[in-house]
Symmetry: C2
Subunit: 290 residues, 2 copies
Amino acid sequence: MAATEKTEFEIALNQAALAAEAALDRLLPNQNENRLHAAMRYAALGQGKRLRPFFVLESAKLSGVSLERAMPVAAALECIHCYSLVHDDLPAMDNDDLRRGLPTTHKKFDEATAILAGDALLTIAFEILADAGQPPALIGALAKAAGQAGMVGGQMLDIEAETKNFSSLEEISAMQSGKTGALFEFACIAGPMMAGQDMTALKTYAKNIGIAFQIADDILDVESTVADLGKATQKDKAKGKATFVDFLGLDGAKKHAKLLAEAAKAALEPHGESAIVLRQAADFIISRRK
Amino acid sequence: MAATEKTEFEIALNQAALAAEAALDRLLPNQNENRLHAAMRYAALGQGKRLRPFFVLESAKLSGVSLERAMPVAAALECIHCYSLVHDDLPAMDNDDLRRGLPTTHKKFDEATAILAGDALLTIAFEILADAGQPPALIGALAKAAGQAGMVGGQMLDIEAETKNFSSLEEISAMQSGKTGALFEFACIAGPMMAGQDMTALKTYAKNIGIAFQIADDILDVESTVADLGKATQKDKAKGKATFVDFLGLDGAKKHAKLLAEAAKAALEPHGESAIVLRQAADFIISRRK
């Protein structure tokens, strides 16, 4: 393949990123000299792979839901992802100074502003969904994915792991399934949920790529440099936190990630050829370099 | 009046507090040894006047909305109020060690847990509303009241006032209207909003008691001791933050609060005798001792 030829997945991811950026730019407030607005926009705009919006838009496409209807869901989900990064980076949490090669929000502004910008991004996600007239069932599904039984719960387990190490693959999987998996799953089932269709295939797909994504993250954390990732590396090791790599070994982790990606692709069987972009996405998840 | 005789307002507030406590106890997760659940419950249960749930339930009653339908709205709103206290108390924000006479959440647990418990309480508010099948319009109204144009925006202005003093009554009013006013207003209009009725009277009522509440707070901050309030006092003065008392003087502030309470009561005219509890509530707002 020539260097200029892109896969269907790469084209779709790029389009989703542009669409998400435009939607967030439009949906996030932007009053002149408003410090809170500036911090919200700093945390949410201009960066990120926009993987979660991509999955929302792709699952919507697969389910026959219009881009117009899916876009606010993609934007709301990205607001929640971005708020979680702002809060996770705080000194009391992961204490990170860099995110995607730039100062984290509390470094660029200050801690109080970062806490409030995170709170405001989380809150505006639900405002966006409500303003778009999304039904309570979808709003509730996002709240569940983001909250104590999902992302926030996973983050709590991750913080606790610093003092109380994971002693089994099951424990680390539970942490991951909350911290990363829940939002991925919401993204992938948003399409069939909006269309009122069966969600089984996409749910299985999401569960597999969710774990694969985290394993790939753990591998990157070991193999990459700060320059590669634009954020601190080997932090888990420094904090004595066990990762998938510790339990499976580097080769074992790579093999397991590959198996999960295959299982994810197999789950798309019922969707036939139209799911090619999501199949390629599963391969990307485990082969990405950042 | 004999010491045992209670006003209609006192009886209604007490009933609302009991009902809110029971609803929160039922709605907040409670897994054994789950640190996040413990922190959420510590922050939300067992304390507080439950003024916001009271206003939701009272405005619902006035609008002919059943207690069953109003209760999840009252509980969701209280979750948001409680999360805001947890985050406001953080070292990077107001740095308070005491709240209602007990250690603040980050003192009882730790900062990371307090940040996450706040995030989880904010998120579960929307889960509660969605699970109760509340319409997107009401969910959006709460998000707006709680977010960047409401409570979080007001808190940002309050934090900024530490370095950039309020120079006018208008500025301090804008801060208050976001920080305290927005949730009060949501509480008071929740009833007519659920019933699809005109909200004008209750909106005017809410705006007036919102400012009156904040002025009363500023007066209490000057006149009370730590033992009275169960939290640190005179903190605004220590931080060089201007309050309503600075602009109006102590007597002027008391007079202004009284005028606002009268305006609030006058706004209830269309509701006639059935609004007696809300009229008494306006008087309570400016006469409370904590």
